[in-house]
């Protein structure tokens, strides 16, 4: 069993989630360390989505515990998860197409003008929101978007992904969860997301990457969490496994023990 060490940013122990008779999570464990990219892989029905949703606060586990920085927490909603520094880029991106980039990045936590303009007239500080959006977009290598004030619907799929990721990265969060970030993207744009993940990591923020895209995972991930039948069957350094074995463990063709993996 894992012990709580300070370097674990987010940890889960014995998570159980049932939907009627279906057991989506069967006492699964989870951990992510400071500064790493952790890929979560698993076949359909392995409980990847349920795990991510528990970590993101979107669903509540029936049993088990969640620890952030070693402290036990319960996450009742994505909003609460966000307050605790867990930013999730959902597969649907959760962007508002008709709003501009800056409004999307600050959606739900807008900045108001200082003084009476903000307190009495509730005036938004659009200038500051745009500047800060631009700053975080630049840090992520997205500064060449023509205009931070342009609407998100005028962006390509990859650029929208960039906006959603920038939002997650913008708020100095403890961990960023990317749920299938390349599922809806073309080859070129997928390459771009890889770079985004590396840029978030460069900012010192650990990333949980849920993906089916094996080459991409082996390109960016430090460790791989393999989920199977509602359990974590392996947690390995990417360097210690190859793609074929990872897939074999994922689908149950090989057991981790056969491969000499610790877990």
């Amino acid at each position: 069993m894992t012990t709580t060490t300070p370097e674990l940013v987010l940890e889960a122990r014995g998570l159980v989630k049932r939907y009627g008779h279906v057991v989506a999570l069967d006492e699964t464990d989870f951990e992510i360390r400071q500064g790493e990219v952790l890929a979560v892989i698993g076949d359909n029905g392995a409980g990847k989505s349920s795990l991510v949703q528990c970590l993101a606060g979107a669903v509540q586990p029936d049993e088990g515990e969640l620890l952030i920085g070693g402290q036990q927490v319960t996450l009742k909603s994505p909003v609460e998860a966000r307050h605790r520094g867990i930013e999730t880029v959902f597969q649907s991106l959760a962007v508002s197409p008709a709003l501009d980039i800056a409004s999307n990045i600050f959606l739900g936590r807008e900045l108001r003008m200082p003084g009476i303009a903000g307190t009495v007239f509730r005036r938004l500080d659009k200038k500051r929101m745009r500047e800060e959006s631009l700053a975080v977009m630049s840090q992520l290598g997205l500064q060449t978007l023509q205009n931070i004030g342009q609407s998100v619907e005028s962006l390509s799929g990859g650029q929208r992904q960039g906006v959603a990721v920038a939002r997650a990265a913008a708020f100095g969060s403890k961990v960023v969860i990317l749920d299938e970030p390349t599922a809806a993207l073309g080859v070129k744009e997928s390459g771009r997301v890889v770079k985004l993940i590396q840029d978030i990591k460069a900012r010192g923020i650990p990333v949980i990457l849920i993906s089916h895209n094996m080459p991409q995972i082996f390109e960016v991930a430090d460790r791989i969490h393999i989920q199977r039948l509602g359990k974590r069957v392996a947690l390995v350094d990417t360097a210690d496994i190859d793609m074929a074995d990872a897939v074999a463990v994922m689908v149950g063709a090989k057991t981790p023990a056969e491969l000499g993996l610790a877990r």
Binding site: A94, S96, A98, L99, F121, R122, Q143, Q150, S151, Q159
Partner: protein, 361 residues
Amino acid sequence: MNERAPELAAAAAGPAGAAPPANPSKTGLVEIEQGGPLTPIQWIERKMLSRPLIGPLAVLVIATIVFSIVSPNFGTLQNFSLILQQVQVIAMLGIAQTLVILTAGIDLSVAAVMLLSQVAMGKFAVSLGLPVELALVLGILVGVACGAINGLVVTRLNIPPFIATLGTLSIFYALNIFISDGESVPYADVPPLFNWLGTGFQVLGTTFTYGQVLTLAMFLLFAYILRSTAWGTHIYAVGDNIEAARLTGIRVDRVLMSVYVVAGLIIGLTAWLLIGRIGSISPTAGVGYNLASITAVVIGGTSLFGGRGRIMGTLLGALIVGVFSSGLSLAGFDSLWQEFTIGLLIIGAVAVDQRLRKIGR
């Protein structure tokens, strides 16, 4: 479809597992939104997408110029004031309607709420003998209460706004007839305060009313609120992508509820405006205003699917309706052609919206 810039391909094809760039500005991916030259139509569509008021403004300006050439009496300040008086009630209801439509809802009960609100004002002041100011405030609060009921039905009972307000339309209208006994309060019995918005002042020999001033002030106020406050942004966000709004932590039900309540407040004020406009309190004064308010919103370029539109578009939409009505009648057309033209404008406006939404996907 726009072309992807070639630099992106180069970047994507870059070495696998390359170390994150220390300085993103050097390696930053250059992406240019419009790859190739745009055709004139594409250019106009892009402009209309980023500046949604261009369309209705162009229609209004062109119609005004054409009618001014056709009829010498059209292009006068006097006629402008008259048009504004004719459309002010629709325009005010249009503000409430715009708020609701921006959340991807619709309010079919606006006219019924207005009637109930004004009938309540009359009841409080004339039949019950309450102080006029109090009666006015209570009447406006009836509008607020109706809005709250609409909001509760939509958010608590999870009934689509179309159905919810179709139901409350009947309920509020019936209450309106019940409270008023179906009878009007004649001009002579209406307290002067209730008629105040129908009175006015002279500018360049033309009479402008306080009602017109209130209407324009309300448009400016709500243009500010929608553009420059978090609440305004959240209204757009809820109408645009309700799931995204929820996931980003916006309390969607609270936004919806507040929109219906504020709409009720605006409608309550409109009830006051209506009394000033027609001089008496009639329980059957503005039944047609429901659809007219939606017409103003739609012609003003606000999308019925929510999340897209400008409050000033609704003012333009109401003015377009007024300009066509006035212009066509001054040019000697039968009033049936006003209806006909407005129908064309609605279909045209929604066709443009559909086209723009397609580009926006």
